[in-house]
């Protein structure tokens, strides 16, 4: 399907390129043209677009097109615990509310709660997720069925997964057969894995030359326990096991020493920050300004709906900036332009999705339309700052992934009625949660 988006303002997120008026042409799942009306004529005259017939032409009415947000850390199916397990610190929350209830999940439940999460991602302009959860095959199916782009990882741990299983998953989901899905190696955390587990994972990392992602330095207690166990911080211990030899990154990274940052620098790791979740679980405030000073790239994730409780990159963007200002006691600590890049370009890079970073010819048609005709986007003193400091889900007018319009003007186009998903999700929680 070929689509023309015209009469738009476009923020490609290419370095230092300001927003301009123009149009975007899409052929199947790719962008074939982004530009101003004038260069468009040149392009046409060159004959490059010859024979391109549009199935749909969408008048953007002077609203803003930009790359969709990359939610680089989530547990989609945890929507089942939204507003059920609140107001507890991380370790107690995991032990009492999360792990026991997760044991009640089956494939059907995970499928349904992942679809619920996808509805929310689309309503929030999120076009790619990096999902770590039980049964990634089921998450993959739910994402493919709805049209969501997803990077998966199974989150190796002592209880529910194995390195052998991960190798299978890695090969299956990185094949060209599934263009919406890819897969990274990952383990849940240092504190949920035996040394043997991580040793075996090290073998796989070397065989596949693959990056690895994990929860890291989320709480002070986690860091202290790891030091007691291994005489090292989690980052240093994981590096010592050879797991960061091909890059990757850490989720959360709240309690990080300069040594830990040096681990990140020399292994070219990404910090994936999750500010709302870190607040809600009272884990702390990540030192984002220090990461930036150390030239450690930062991407952003929502974490799961059980600890956030929404899946909303606007909320996270505001918090990345505003928490940094509070932490550093400097109102200019973290400006909006940088944060908008973290939520888009850096996210794509962290996930290894080179075609998802900016709007340009040859890139994925993962595009969102920002409704500029909402009062919170006015006046237009600074569009990027409006997005980061004042934006919210009500500004998402359209979400397109791989050239398909999956959400527009409040309506979902995922091949299923949202109300049917809501009903079945409520039926499940009534059955499995007290």
């Amino acid at each position: 399907m070929n689509i023309r988006l015209y009469n738009a303002r476009i923020l490609t997120m290419e370095h230092k390129r300001p927003a301009f008026s123009g149009e975007i042409w899409i052929k199947d799942d790719r962008i074939v043209y982004v530009g101003e009306e004038e260069t468009l004529k040149e392009e046409l005259e060159k004959g490059e677009m010859e024979g391109l017939h549009f199935d749909e032409e969408i008048d953007c009415d002077n609203n803003l097109l930009m790359p969709g947000f990359k939610d680089c850390h989530t547990h989609s199916a945890m929507t089942f615990l939204r507003s059920y397990a609140d107001d507890e610190p991380l370790q107690k929350w995991l032990a009492k509310k999360v792990f026991p209830n997760e044991q009640k999940l089956n494939e059907d439940y995970i499928y349904e709660f992942t679809r619920l999460a996808v509805l929310e991602y689309l309503s929030a302009g999120i076009t790619t997720i990096f999902d770590m959860y039980l049964m990634p095959d089921v998450t993959a199916r739910a994402c493919m069925d709805t049209g969501m782009r997803a990077v998966l990882t199974s989150g190796l741990n002592n209880f529910t997964s194995s390195v052998y299983q991960m190798e299978d998953e890695y090969k299956r989901w990185n094949s060209k057969e599934y263009p919406l899905i890819s897969y990274h190696l990952g383990f849940h955390a240092e504190y949920t894995n035996s040394k043997e587990n991580l040793y075996n994972l090290g073998h796989l990392v070397r065989n596949l030359r693959a990056p690895v992602f994990t929860h890291l330095a989320e709480t002070e207690g986690e860091v202290d326990d790891c030091k007691k166990r291994y005489g090292m911080t989690p980052a240093m211990f994981i590096e010592s096991m050879g797991l960061f030899a091909y890059g990757g990154g850490g989720f959360h990274c709240v309690h990080m020493s300069q040594d830990d940052m040096d681990v990140f620098k020399r292994n070219r790791l990404f910090v994936i920050t999750n500010p709302a979740s870190n607040m809600k679980l009272a884990s702390g405030i990540a030192p984002i300004a220090e990461f930036v000073k150390n030239k450690i790239p930062v991407a952003i994730g929502t974490d799961g709906a059980a600890s956030n409780n929404s899946l909303d990159m606007f909320k996270e963007m505001f918090l990345v900036s505003a928490l940094s200002k509070i932490r550093e006691k400097e109102a200019d600590s973290m400006d909006a332009v940088r944060v908008l890049r973290m939520a888009t370009v850096n996210g794509a890079r962290a996930l290894g999705l080179k075609r998802a970073d900016v709007l340009a010819k040859g890139k994925y048609a993962d595009i969102i339309m920002i409704d500029m005709k909402r009062p919170n986007m006015q006046p237009e003193n600074n569009i990027r700052k409006n997005l980061v400091y004042a934006g919210d889900k009500s500004n998402i007018k359209m979400t397109m992934i791989a050239g398909r319009v999956l959400y527009k003007d409040g309506e979902f186009h995922i091949g299923e009625e949202p109300e049917k998903i809501y009903r079945s999700c409520n039926d499940i929680v009534k059955k499995i949660l007290k």
Copy 2:
């Protein structure tokens, strides 16, 4: 105009009353019935509703009706500086970006930017504002013309206002002639007022037996400077001037000692907290849990769009809870149910609007409809927690003030096209801001 809202779920916000299925009847600007279908029949049989004819009957489709949010601290017309004056600490921000540009404002500009703010309040389910700004008469007119309920205060200071002017305003805007508008005494802050100003205001307080509101203990510097000037904290100094003799409250209250809290307790003052603004200006995190322990009532405000940058009580509610968890390092520090009361019931009480606190017979018909058919409100493990921890503007399906539907399904009904307001606001900023 009489309206029937039926097929609804209703959260009246009366103490400990759970949500129930029922309907609400509205006669002119008041609620005449709230209840379940069964009691409705009894009511009808008693003949109490006799002769009530509905001009409009709205099927709420099982969505949630609740009292609108009370934004207890805002500067509406400061929308003109949204995303223009960012990333600077408070005193520098005021001196360099705010005060010089405010001098360029005239009545027409304030009217237009207040209307822009009203659009945002309505889209956010805010049914009452407490606005402190230059030219409150103009703000009053913008609110009356659009249907917004507003409590005004002129914010006495050394430069732009006088106590005499305030006495006039107080009498004018508290008359019965303007049912949407009321007025409280207020001064900008200790540090923008001479002692003489505050002495004169003290006379007026005693004459009118009126509560007083002011910016208070927003930054550490403010507290330190006041101690140098008067040997007392701002709260203690203002009390010593007799300004809190009839109650009132403080905006921000970030840096508060136990002595300051004692001032609040013995004068029955309200804390009006503004978490997003305090983050963005790097002012600090208010000790909300300590206020609650001290039984000091807390209400919530957005502050102006120049320092926030949105006017969104969902954002503030999340932050009141989540910042308290971070500050106290306890994930159970501030739960959602309490915060939802702060944003509604406590707000109405802080403003002295006894008819705006809950949904009940005789109260103002200031009602919002929450769209429960959005993915972030699902599953329904806990509706109040969903609102506070996961809600956003996209959940506002309808905003009614004084019995008038001013916003519904994304459309505004304020007697003016939003796009016309956006255009004129952009024209003004192009003229007055570089």
